[in-house]
């Protein structure tokens, strides 16, 4: 991803967000990180960015189980926002869920590039972000 692109983390676990930011910093990845505690907050912000004709994030790291709006619902709603593929954003699921149901469901969303189970290895994270 480009250096000027933002990394979007959507996860209700504040400690995880803190650790992700710390990991990125440790890897020398200095892209701006925008984080949200649920899908609804993230969606609101992304809508705003689009309406301001701003730059949407270069990658989204998305949790599944979140209050108010979970990862699946976010994906459905985000499709409505990112119409005509306004920007093709790679999305990765990063979840503690190891339920097969979630793995299988993720395959039905073409915009999801991979399903990562927490804890994510730093090497994996780096390879994704430097891709």
């Amino acid at each position: 991803m480009k250096e000027n692109e933002k990394i979007c983390i959507i996860d209700d676990d504040e400690i995880y967000i803190f650790l992700m930011k710390k990991s990125l910093s440790a890897m020398g990845i200095n892209n701006e990180v925008i984080s949200f505690l649920n899908g609804a907050d993230a969606l609101e912000e992304l809508i705003q960015i689009k309406s301001d004709q701003g730059e949407l994030p270069g990658i989204i790291l998305l949790d599944i189980n979140m209050p108010i709006m979970d990862g699946w619902e976010f994906l459905t709603e985000f499709r409505k926002v990112n119409t005509n593929n306004y920007k093709k954003i790679p999305i990765y699921i990063v979840s503690s869920s190891i339920a097969n149901e979630d793995f299988e469901k993720s395959k039905t969303y073409p915009e999801i590039l991979d399903y990562l189970s927490k804890p994510v290895e730093l090497e994996t994270l780096e390879s994704i972000l430097r891709d």
Partner: protein, 526 residues
């Protein structure tokens, strides 16, 4: 010499052997009396010729006929038919007294008396013995005839041994069927095509008395046994049966609050032309089987529910513990490499927070486990009205702070057999949620109502609060750590625990909710 035309009483189209009785007698008389000679013949010649000829022909007759003297009962003439029946030669029989070959002498005595008074008997049943001592059933018809001035008896026999054997076999078969019919536990009623009763067995009679307080009577119509309100329904059931179809169903009859289950079957009865001549209604009491089936289904549902909950629980445990564990690993990795004391202190704060969250998660999971473990705790008779008042008292500060109106409209006399801790927890949870999510735009009102049914008690807690978007959240409303209003204090554990407490006791919960209108939770206690 000539044979005169057929005796006027005798109908030649009828086989006398098969028909027996009076027809056989007429034939014998026709034969015996029908022989005539020209009027100018010599009397002695005629007599001799007549006698000889008669005897010769009589001997060969396949029809079993015996001529005996009325005065002595001595057999003087037998036909070949008799030889066939008794499997003996005429020489063995001529000169014997007829009564000697009769097995049931008392019947023969009665016949003789009747003969004395009436001069004729038709088709009386007797048993005679053949040479081997075997009993042969015959019908006997006797008529007095006069020959040479002497009164004789013309005895015509019809062998009915085979018929008798068949009759006995049919009777046995009928008896067997009747035994089965009467001793089965299934009630059977046979109807004709006009739906009138032709026959029924004892269980059917017991069924009618027990369930409808009516006696079954032959000739009465099917519909008369049911209330008028059911007649259209029954007509619809019977219609296809009268068209040759079999129909069956399971029904219960509510009797003194008890369900009496029956398997009812209507089968058409066809005549030899394959047309529906009526139908059989069978009714089998399947109450015990049904009770077992219902219990089995309950157990199956319970096990399925428990499996579902266990699976769900394992996901929750896995997800939540992994979440904390992965954070701990990450923090510890950073701590190992971190040189700055300030950064280390910051990481330690986070580690403490993760530990605290892990502890909370374990506590919550332990709560769920304890619900499952406490399934067999002693149930107590709890008054719902009083328990609601207790919950209101516990939350009185929150109620006052939000100026909530709580109406306890539950009737005073509704008691529930339940786990007291669970009932308290359930009521507190629903009440505190209703207070927490009260609409700021109107006076919050919370209503408790309850209805007692036959086997269940329904408790409804409704509010005019913020409501929940059921289209979005109905699947995860009772999920662990699921919150719906963005309230920072919400942990998403209350409804999860409450649902577990309700499920664990075999009760059910339903929700109706509309955003900005309110929410209604209905618990059905079984």
């Amino acid at each position: 010499m000539k044979f005169l035309p057929i005796h006027k009483e005798y109908d030649s189209d009828i086989d006398p052997v098969q028909t027996g009785g009076d027809q056989l007698l007429k034939f014998a008389k026709h034969f015996a009396l029908g022989l005539e000679f020209p009027k100018n013949s010599d009397a002695a010649f005629i007599q001799n010729e007549k006698t000889e000829l008669f005897e010769n022909i009589f001997n060969f007759l396949p029809v079993p006929l015996i001529i005996t003297r009325k005065s002595t009962g001595t057999i003087i003439l037998i036909s070949a038919g008799v030889e066939t029946i008794l499997q003996t030669k005429k020489a063995e029989l001529i000169g014997k007294n007829f009564s000697e070959i009769i097995e049931n002498k008392e019947v023969f005595d009665q016949i003789s008396s009747q003969l004395e008074s009436h001069g004729k008997i038709i088709n009386n049943e007797i048993r005679i013995q053949n040479i081997y001592g075997e009993s042969i059933s015959c019908l006997i018809s006797i008529e007095t005839i006069i020959a040479n001035g002497e009164s004789l008896y013309l005895n015509a026999l019809t062998n009915i041994s085979e018929r008798k054997i068949l009759e006995v076999a049919i009777q046995n078969s009928e008896d067997n069927l009747r035994t089965v019919f009467e001793n089965t536990e299934v009630g059977y009623i046979l109807f004709n095509q006009f739906q009138n009763i032709i026959s029924f067995n004892k269980p059917a009679s017991i069924f009618a008395i027990k369930e409808f307080n009516k006696e079954i009577n032959v000739g009465t119509n099917f519909s008369t046994y049911f209330p008028e309100i059911m007649r259209d329904y029954l007509t619809n059931i019977i219609a296809p049966v009268l068209n040759g179809e079999t129909t069956s169903f399971e029904r219960f009859i509510l009797h003194n609050s008890e369900h009496h289950w029956y398997y009812v079957k209507f089968s058409p009865v066809f005549n030899k032309d394959q047309l529906v001549a009526g139908f059989i209604m069978s009714m089998e009491n399947i109450t015990e089987r049904k009770k077992n089936e219902i219990e089995l289904n309950k157990s199956l549902n319970l096990v399925t529910e428990q499996n579902k909950r266990l699976l769900n629980f394992s996901y929750i445990v896995s997800h939540n513990l992994r979440s904390h564990a992965s954070n701990m690993i990450s923090i510890l990795n950073f701590l190992e490499k971190e040189k700055s004391e300030t950064e280390k202190a910051g990481l330690m704060i986070h580690l403490k927070k993760v530990s605290q969250l892990l502890n909370e998660t374990l506590f919550n999971l332990n709560e769920v486990v304890s619900i499952q473990k406490n399934l067999n705790t002693t149930l107590e008779k709890l008054n719902i009205f009083e328990y609601i008042n207790q919950a209101i008292a516990i939350l009185h500060k929150e109620i006052a702070a939000k100026k909530v109106v709580v109406n306890n409209n539950v009737p005073l006399d509704i008691d529930l057999n339940y786990n007291p801790a669970y009932l308290e927890s359930i009521l507190l949870n629903f009440l505190s949620n209703a207070i927490k999510y009260a609409s700021p735009n109107r006076l919050p009102i919370i209503n408790f109502t309850s209805v007692k049914n036959n086997n269940t008690i329904e408790l409804t807690i409704s509010d005019n609060g913020m409501g929940i978007d059921m289209n979005k959240y109905h699947d995860r409303l009772f999920g662990m750590y699921k919150t719906f209003h963005g309230n920072k204090d919400a942990k998403g554990i209350g409804l999860f625990i409450t649902k577990n407490q309700i499920d664990a006791m075999g009760s059910k919960i339903e929700v109706i909710s509309e955003i900005n209108v309110g929410t209604s939770f209905k618990i059905t206690f079984v």
